[in-house]
């Protein structure tokens, strides 16, 4: 495939969606400090180009599934900032009715198959989603995201084997941000190049610069084409970085300030901004206006969440079984 050229629209789309992820999560961090958001909360700041570059390369009915670091994925799939924020608040108006919280965003309507809390647990699920599309003769592909840490789960190896054996239309995306909690990639394997894990199964496997939306888009577009053509799965090791700690409680003492600063110099959002300005596709004022609009969307999501009710206690007994009158044990 020839090298892709990207339009003004794509760049502006990236700018907007990445700006939304960034501002939304900065706000979330603040709200966590105010205890409006509870439990575990994992921020995606720094990794935005991975999701943005994937989404621009996909079609509307393609599917996504990821781990607990899922706010950006949920937003990029088209779930409203209101519904994602309300979920963080645990409100009944959230995209999982306040039952999931930060780690468990879901939207069937937006083909978002969820945020999952058990490391690696979503890897077989992603292949299964692709299996169903293949079974029905659909043309959709599934993007299944997981971390560098999740690479080490046995489920990954079992799934890779079957996905290749059955040529499932799935794109496995390792979001390699260098760390699994406090454990650096080097400390988890003697194979530092994570994409090589696919080679044992003859899976087309590549490493990708995750700080550049362009590189991500290109890699995903090729992988999606392979999937749609019936050529099976692809493994993409997308190299990225999380600026914040693993979760809100992690002071991240296992890495240096210099390391973090070095990555911030290649900030994915700033790279998109610079490209737009260099190409004169928009002025700084235009971009400020977009940013201002996004700030308003985020503030509106907060107001909406503040004014939404918590789920009623009776909601404990809804959505557990699809069967409407399941006889729960009630003391």
């Amino acid at each position: 495939m020839a090298k892709l050229t990207f339009t003004k629209e794509t760049y502006l789309q990236w700018f907007e969606s990445m700006m939304l992820m960034r501002r939304f999560e900065e706000k979330s961090a603040q709200l966590y400090g105010q205890q409006k958001i509870k439990g575990f909360c994992h921020l995606y700041i720094g990794q935005e180009a991975v999701v943005a570059g994937t989404m621009s390369a996909l079609q509307k009915d393609d599917r996504l599934i990821t781990a607990y670091r899922d706010h950006a994925h949920a937003l990029a799939c088209g779930i409203s900032a209101r519904a994602v924020m309300a979920e963080l608040y645990g409100k009944a108006t959230g995209c999982s009715k306040g039952k999931g919280g930060s780690m468990h965003m879901f939207s069937k309507e937006h083909n978002f198959f969820g945020g999952h809390g058990i490391v690696g647990g979503q890897i077989p699920l992603g292949a299964g989603i692709a299996f169903a599309d293949q079974y029905r003769g659909g043309k959709q592909v599934t993007v299944c995201y997981f971390g560098d840490g999740a690479m080490r789960q046995g489920a990954l190896h079992e799934t890779f084997n079957m996905a290749m054996l059955w040529k499932l239309p799935v794109i496995f995306v390792i979001e390699n941000n260098g760390y699994a909690m406090g454990t650096s990639v080097e400390r988890t394997s003697n194979v530092g190049e994570l994409y090589k894990a696919g080679l044992a199964f003859d899976m087309p496997s590549f490493s990708v610069d995750g700080m550049k939306a362009e590189s991500v888009h290109e890699a995903v577009a090729k992988a999606a084409e392979r999937g749609r053509n019936g050529d099976g799965p692809t493994l993409l090791e997308i190299r990225t970085y999380r600026y914040r700690g693993h979760s809100m409680s992690d002071p991240a003492k296992y890495r240096t300030k210099e390391e973090v600063e070095a990555y911030k110099l290649q900030d994915p959002l700033e790279q998109v901004r610079t490209s737009i300005l260099n190409k004169k596709w928009a002025s700084a004022e235009d971009l400020d206006k977009i940013e201002e609009n996004i700030n308003n969307i985020v503030q509106d999501a907060v107001d909406f969440s503040e004014n939404s009710p918590f789920p009623d206690e009776s909601e404990l007994f809804t959505d557990v079984y699809a069967e409407p009158n399941y006889p729960f044990i009630i003391e």
């Binding site: 789960q153 406090g182 454990t183």
Partner: protein, 325 residues
Amino acid sequence: MRSIQFREALREALSEEMRRDESIFLMGEEVAEYNGAYKVSQGMLDEFGAKRIIDTPIAELGFAGIGVGAAMNGLRPIIEFMTFNFSLVAIDQVINAAAKMYSMSGGQFNIPMVFRGPTGSAGQLGAQHSQAFENWYANCPGLKVVVPSNPYDAKGLLKTAIRDNDPVIFMESEQMYGDKGEVPEEEYLIPIGVADVKRTGTHVTLVSFGKIMKVVLAAAEELAKEGIECEVIDLRTVRPIDYNTVIESVKKTNRLVIIEEAWPLASISSEITYMVQKNAFDYLDAPIRRITTQDVPLGYAPTLVQAFLPSIQKTVQTVKEVLYK
């Protein structure tokens, strides 16, 4: 006596036993360089080195099984699960290997190891991070299951668990690690399978274990203000269960309420209820009652968490009901 945190009591037990016996090692996610996800193993890498305090990749099935294999070949592994929620990834090795090995091999390979970590919910963590596993593991012959409720018991029981020649599941709680309690400097051991009567009383017996003991003791305190004297029993281990202490207490109080954080079906409370009705039927003046969690996965919202868990208020209420007050 000095007062130390639950996590410090665990750390002392681990360190003292590791100093005693070279064959003991601690393995799990973030136990070494990060000093433990909940700081239980703080400083232990410095003292014992990377050979004995071992960080693993996120690969529970693998490292649980490596622990069992090492135990078959003469070592005494301590495997930490960051939480028991993640032990589900490893449960095949815990049940099919660790628990059954001695029996399957006709008594040739015993498994002297400990699987430890927090169990149960810990605030608003959502369904996949909030499950209690005491009854799951207690169901399995070959395992012992220890669930301490305070720093003193945690230290004494963990030391015993490490010295035990069978596989022991040792369950803690994120919501107890910071709790302080009196722990003597001198060495002591607490036997597995012996309940502790935390409070004597004549009106009703309350039975619980682990983190929920805090709720039960607070409820007993409330009830005492109203003149209701509860006998409070901390089981401390749920396999084996000290049935006798419970039955003897019920013979005295004639009423029993069991409180636990677990789904109701086939829980520890179901089991105790069976044994008490079988052995003390004629002594009961009211049906045995229990307070469990609700029979559902735990959702994230605070309203759901609150309605899901046993509470002081639910305990007080239920006690009054068995007393027909």
